[in-house]
Structure formats: structure tokens, C-alpha cells
Point group: C2
Chain length 209, copies 2
DNA sequence: CCGCGCCCTAAGCGCTTGCTCAGCGGCGCG
DNA sequence: CGCGCCGCTGAGCAAGCGCTTAGGGCGCGG
């Protein structure tokens, strides 16, 4: 299996929960287009074209173009929340959990940088109600990370005078990966994850292995 | 002078180099609109309206809507480059220069978060030629920061195994301020600057005062 | 074999967009 | 006072937008 075919398969699995097949192809095409040009610069004709169908076919599966963005944002942010949750619930010291959280969270933002770009930078295009809903997911992700850092500060593992501020910075660092990462760059998603985990551990004053 | 008037005056000074007055009002209005809704979701009618003129008046001062973005990007990135340059050229240890660079660079991204948001997140809307030109400015900013970190690594002040990667992370951290910062948040631009400078110094393994 | 239901397309509607153009008002100069 | 010029406006054009609608083809149960 070639690299392109492998990418296509992975892309397909990312949206495995979306059925039927035509609806999934549309989501996949929309993510690609939104990441490339932005939501407002993407036309429904472009999305439908990439999915190999006529413009009208889009409206059989989604009421509006905004609903596509909403679906993508929901699935993406739920995935991000699950990644952060897995790290937060794991056993181990605060340092171990923080390393794991940053490593997996940053890695996901690199590996799925197209999806990540859409869900992190196109939020303002959502309707107010959809935005509020998605913002809830983000707040939960935020809280999970903050708790890890708070734990480390409480136990004396970390030196963090300003826990909310440090949380913000760590999240910020990981999210911004989606802005600059490209598959043809010098770093693999794995390498970005471990590099960022090391940097963050030093940032909170924890000894790096 | 009230807070609103003070903000208006500051906004005006930010674009002091743009003349005549109508052209400056248009730039100011465009930054506001682009930051709020994004380039593609902003109409020329909206920009002209905010500047207190008819839609047609825009085209007396700028050939296209894209030229407005180009002008904004140019001025903004030149300012960012100058800020980084001032820190890089200052005398002092690498740690002192890095602290100064991060403090002033992050602070500017907070203080002028509307402008910063436009110049950092709307680049893809530029024409290819304009994009390449602006990308040059960004690369120069990048190099200045990398040199500071390289100096610290060479002299043993910093512990940075991966200098380009660390540079990327630091820049990333500062730039992302423009995404989340709002004037009504709990932190002043000054506070963001000093917090981030401390975090970064720890990130490179330098002792924080 | 028919008939029903599900996806899909061709065509196009109403509207907004970036941008243009003919002309107008007011200010400086003779 | 008259005249030209610069900055601006009102009206509007061509193109492209999100989305709708009428109808076609195909698979499946009877």
C-alpha cells in the first residue's frame, strides 16, 4: 500500500463514525477544503466536487454548510477531549501525566493538523448556539489539563505560581502546532510530541528524565 | 480622557504612517473587521461603513480589498520584526535578551491583539506574491529569535538540544496570544509578557530570577 | 414484472459580493 | 466671482454564492 493510499485509509478511519459513505466523504472533503482555504473561502460546490458529487447532493446529508463545520468541530473536539482525558485519568505522578498529556495532545494536533486547524481556527464561523456547545467541550479539556498542573503544584512536583496562566500557555503551545505543522516538514508528529513534552516539563520546573 | 477615547487615540497612532486620514481610517476599520470575522467574511461595504464612508470610497485609496490586507500585514510584521530586533541587538546575556524578546513580543501580541490576529491568521488570503514577501519578514523575525537561543546554547547558559524546535515553540507560544487574548480578560498585556518570559526561560533551562 | 423509496443530478432562483463609473460638491487660486 | 481639481457618492453590473426543486435511475420486496 502506497503512502497516498495509507493516508486515504487513515483519513477514512478518522471519520468512521459518520455514515452513510457519502456523508463521510463529504466530511472528509470539507475538512480538507476548510483547512486549506478557511470556512468562508470554501464553496459548497468545492466540497461536493472533492467528494465526487454534484453541489445539490450535499444538502441531502447536511442542512447547511455550517452544519458540516459543526459536525467536524464536534467530532474533533470530542477526540481531543478523550485524548486529554486518557492522560489525566492515568495513574502516575503529575509529571508523568503531564508528559503524557502534552505528548499525545501535541502529537494529535500534528498528525491530524488539517482537522485540528479547522476545529481550532474556524470556531467563529459556527452559529452562536453551536459555538456555545463546542466551547463547553473545550472548557472540559482545559479543566483536565489544569487539574494535572494543579496536582503537581500542590504536591511540590511543579513550580507554577500561576496555574491558570501556565495551563493557558501549555494548551496554547499544543494548539498552535496545527497552524504551522506540515507533513513535509522535518519533524514527525511523534517527534513534535516528545519535544513539546520535554519543553513543558521544564516549563513547570519538573526534572526532565 | 475616557477609556474608549484612549483606545481610539492609540489605534490611530498605530497607523500613524498611513496618510491621508481617510486611508488611515480605512486601515483601522479593516483591521477591526478582519480580526472580528476574518478576511473572507468581511465585506468592503462593512469596512467602508465602519470608516464612515460609502463603499466606493474604499477604491480611491486601495485598488482591492486584498491590498488593504497586504498593507496591514506589511506594517504589522515590520513592527513585530522591529520589536524582536530591538531585543536581539540589546547588550546583555542570552538569558536577558531572551527574556526581553519574549516579554515585548508577547506583550505586543496581547496589546495589539486585533492587528496581531489579522497578520498571523489571515496570511493565506494574501496573493501568492504578497504572501512570499510577508513570509520573508517572518523568516527574519524567526532568525533573530533563533540566534538568541543559539547563543545561549553555545555559551552553556541554556539547555536546548533542539534549537530550531525550541525557537518554533517559543514563537508559537507568543503568536498564539493573539488568538486567545481579550482586553476584558483577567490579565494585562504586561502581565502576559512577564509570565511568558518566565515560562520560556525555564523552558530553556535558564535560572529564573 | 411492477412499484416504491432512496440518492442523486441538472437547472436555476434570489441574493450578495467585489468592484466600476458618471457625476457632484466644496475648497484653493486667479 | 469663476474655474478646475480632488475626494467622494449613488446607482448598478457581472459573477459567484448558498440553497431549492423537479425529476431520473437503480435496487429491492412482492
Amino acid at each position: 500500500m502506497g503512502a497516498a493510499a495509507e493516508r486515504a485509509k487513515e483519513e477514512n478511519e478518522e471519520w468512521a463514525g459518520v455514515t452513510p459513505d457519502a456523508a463521510r466523504r463529504l466530511v472528509s472533503a470539507a475538512v480538507e477544503a476548510f483547512a486549506e482555504r478557511g470556512y468562508h473561502a470554501t464553496t459548497t460546490r468545492d466540497i461536493a466536487g472533492r467528494a465526487g458529487m454534484s453541489p445539490a447532493a450535499l444538502y441531502i446529508h447536511y442542512k447547511t454548510k455550517e452544519e458540516l463545520l459543526y459536525r467536524i468541530s464536534g467530532i474533533g473536539h470530542e477526540k481531543a477531549l478523550r485524548i486529554m482525558g486518557a492522560a489525566a485519568e492515568a495513574q502516575g505522578s503529575a509529571a508523568e501525566r503531564l508528559r503524557d498529556a502534552v505528548r499525545t495532545f501535541a502529537r494529535w494536533h500534528a498528525e491530524h493538523h488539517t482537522t485540528a486547524r479547522v476545529i481550532q481556527y474556524e470556531l467563529q464561523a459556527l452559529s452562536p448556539e453551536h459555538y456555545t456547545e463546542i466551547a463547553g467541550l473545550r472548557r472540559r479539556t482545559d479543566r483536565l489539563l489544569r487539574q494535572i498542573i494543579q496536582d503537581g503544584a500542590d504536591s511540590g512536583e511543579f513550580r507554577a505560581d500561576d496555574v491558570p496562566g501556565t495551563t493557558l500557555a501549555v494548551l496554547s503551545l499544543c494548539v498552535d502546532v496545527a497552524r504551522w505543522f506540515t507533513a513535509d516538514g522535518p519533524r514527525t508528529p511523534d517527534e513534535v510530541g516528545t519535544l513539546y513534552a520535554d519543553l513543558v516539563l521544564r516549563m513547570v520546573g519538573a526534572p526532565v528524565a
